[in-house]
Symmetry: C2
């Protein structure tokens, strides 16, 4: 593998150009042959596997089981829930030929699985004893995209989707909140991505939901990335799909449902937020390689020391690799592993071997450290934690610095036509104002913070009374 940073534009000067080039040259992804599709290369997929592992653990800990439902949804089934199909129909990929013959009924490739899962739930749920029914699925989904953007917007992407059914609204409500809080935790602790947790407006909520909770992050160019949503479906789907149960008093009622999903889109946010002009910077908890060891010379004495270091770091549970390639210079190796965002670099030369020390460089700050080898494991663990925290803190500061309360529409427009970011502003909650603001500034309502207080204010657009300050931003 031969990396080059020559062609990498400065992140601060052209984020999307930098992004498109860094993900290719760091071998995270490649373009697929069909328009809008993407290949997750091993280095990129390994990040997703680490996210999966933690999410899967949290989901199972909650008593939710994995299952797998078909990719194909008969057209008549997906059309059953009116607002749902209205939301998704422009994005569908449709199979019309199977086994060489035109199909009698077209098959839609799942854009999400509510309809196919709830058709089954209607057959599986009869009594309160069958509740709660809580299932999660890891799957590929397809939403047709005219303009693809790797990770953020691709025709096919990978995700998990949770689907639960409950005997009352109190319980399903609590589950909706649990899911979005779990996502927020994963974003904050693993991806080092701070964000806002709140509810969507009526026009921005999921097609078929009563309420959508969301976690929204701010990217360096001031645009907002929606990073996982959790939906209170109320009894909308259960009424359409006839999912009824008998309660303990033998009364029949429709179940209360939730659905929630987190996708590979999250990796896009991670890359944009933490990277710099040298390439990726991966948070240690999600870095497929946490420590790269570079022998300064390929001498047996030095290589031997590298191997001992590798072993002791592996025993301590870290992901570590030695780059022993013969035909590549040390400088080029440093560039490569900086480009690939490995959090810590260890360099071992004759001096280190003689003095029994280790030289280490932090990817996030560039800081170089030298310390006795007997402190190795302890120092590495400390540094990995520090890097994880530092990345979060940097992003948190950026988020705070770029969230502004505004009280006039002029100010609002000035920000949205300039550096962008989150704007907190009173809004009367009419769809008309929301639509006009979006047309004029490209900013949509992102969410109303969960803990937002009711206040007295005037809508930033129409000046009529408004009760809440909503967060606005330009979405991807």
């Amino acid at each position: 593998m031969n990396f080059t940073k020559r062609d990498l534009p400065k992140k601060s000067e052209n984020l999307s150009d930098w992004y498109n080039k860094v993900i290719l040259s760091a071998e995270l992804v490649d373009h697929g042959p069909a328009k809008g599709t993407m290949i997750y290369r091993p280095y990129g997929f390994a990040i997703w596997e680490l996210i999966q592992k933690e999410l899967d653990r949290l989901i199972k800990e909650k008593g939710i089981s994995n299952a797998y439902f078909p990719l194909f949804i008969p057209e008549s089934l997906i059309k059953k829930e009116e607002s749902h199909i209205k939301g998704f129909s422009p994005e569908l990929a449709v199979v019309t030929i199977g086994g060489g013959e035109a199909l009698e009924e077209k098959l839609v490739i799942r854009p999400t699985s509510e309809t196919i899962i709830y058709e089954a739930y209607s057959r599986w749920i009869h009594s309160w004893r069958d509740l709660p029914l809580m299932i999660n699925q890891w799957a590929n989904v397809v939403r047709w995209e005219k303009r693809a953007y790797p990770f953020l917007r691709t025709t096919e992407f990978l995700w998990q989707e949770g689907h639960t059914a409950h005997g009352n609204h109190e319980e399903s409500s609590a589950l909706v909140l649990w899911a979005i809080k779990m996502y927020a935790q994963v974003y904050q602790e693993l991806l080092a991505l701070p964000g806002y947790l709140g509810r969507k407006s009526e026009s921005e909520k999921f097609a078929g939901a009563d309420l959508t909770l969301t976690y929204e992050c701010l990217m360096p160019e001031g645009k907002v990335l929606q990073n996982g949503t959790s939906h209170d479906l109320g009894q909308n789907f259960s009424k359409t799909f006839d999912i009824k149960f008998q309660d303990q008093e033998n009364k029949t009622d429709y179940v209360w449902q939730t659905s929630w999903g987190l996708s590979t889109r999250s990796i896009g946010g991670l890359i944009m937020t933490h990277g710099d002009d040298q390439g990726l910077i991966l948070p240690p908890r999600l870095a497929p390689i946490q420590i790269i060891i570079l022998p300064v010379k390929l001498e047996e004495k030095i290589l031997g020391a590298c191997r001992i270091i590798k072993e002791s770091l592996e025993r301590a549970g870290t992901r570590v690799k030695i780059d022993e390639l013969e035909t590549v210079t040390l400088g080029s190796k440093i560039n490569t592993w900086e480009l690939r965002g490995v959090p810590l670099r260890i360099e071992i030369g004759s001096k280190e071997v003689e003095n029994k020390t280790v030289t280490m460089a932090r990817r996030d700050t560039g800081e170089k450290l030298n310390f006795p080898i007997d402190q190795l494991v302890e120092k590495v663990s400390e540094l990995l934690n520090q890097i994880q925290t530092n990345l979060y803190d940097r992003a948190e500061k950026f988020l705070q610095d770029n969230t502004k309360e505004v009280y006039t529409y002029d100010e609002f427009k000035k920000i949205m036509l300039g550096e962008r970011g989150f704007v907190s502003a009173f809004w009367c909650e009419s769809e008309q104002c929301e639509k006009m603001i979006k047309e004029e500034t490209k900013a949509s309502t992102r969410c109303l913070l969960l803990d937002a207080q009711e206040q007295q204010g005037l809508c930033i657009y129409c000046q009529k009374p408004a009760q809440h300050q909503w967060l606005f931003g330009q979405a991807y």
Copy 2:
């Protein structure tokens, strides 16, 4: 959940009827709404997750990385390798509409991913330094089926597919063998399924391969299940897809490739082989619940004892559950967990609590045991191992008893029209004889054992000289 065994036919009398009913009533699967599709319910999917976990570990241990390639293969790409598309074209599902518009080029849903992966390999491989390139993918694939059979033959199924590229044939050959031996190990040690490991005939090998190795198991009705294959692709695909590399002497050559896959079909073989008239029997290593604890009465003293037993078994690393349902009788619970194939059942009543003993029943033999509670962990571990071994040994005996060497075609026909099974017979390796045998007896060549000796014999069909005894059988 309320199970019933009333409607379960006897396995020995009607295997396919028993099979179709047991997988539904044990809640392993359900039918999907689109023809030929299947839902993996949590209990069925948990078996797949256990298979995945072990396979994934073995694959990564070999230095092979996971990645993910697109679902959609442009029609022109899949048509590139002639024999490959010839083999797969009758089974393809095709997307012709995307985002509401007819597509310029049709998109085939992957039936397997050689073409889409190797298109990428041609861009990623340049030099000997890029080799071996070894990637695995966990994915859903689609092969159109007119007559579906859950697990064994469904339009969509789940699998892993490995794809490696090497600098010489010696190395790729070794990888082909490694993969099939890994599969055999997983079948034998986890699924408790003995089988034959051998190579496919020319007509039965994978479309596009030089050589296909296979692991073939015998089902109770005497039919053969192909359970995982590994292909030596030679330079067929690398020549079609122009995957070239420069070796250390700066000479250019095409890479040598392998592909190999194991699917959810394996679960079908597991169910058919080990189940009995009472329902499933799951091998302990793949049982989502290894031990079910049934309180004889729902009294606090008894439930307390059950919980202590559960905790100590969980600490010992086993998967265990207490059935505390109030509205179901003990007899009905026993039926349910027998139907679901849980390897060990513990019953705790007042007597057990008083005497500090545990009563346990083996699902495979029905044997009941009673022993002091302080032997619990040790006994359970011993019994789970015994059950695993016993299931394998039973299946191995059946395989041996139903593998017959025959030397006349009359005998061959008699067996294939009767109890079936594997037949070992000389075959001249002409496609004509193979085709006639299949037409007249429904038996195809299954494989030539890897360690088969060259011998002198006469083809069972045409009586011309033949060098090897091949295994024949009726496949699913």
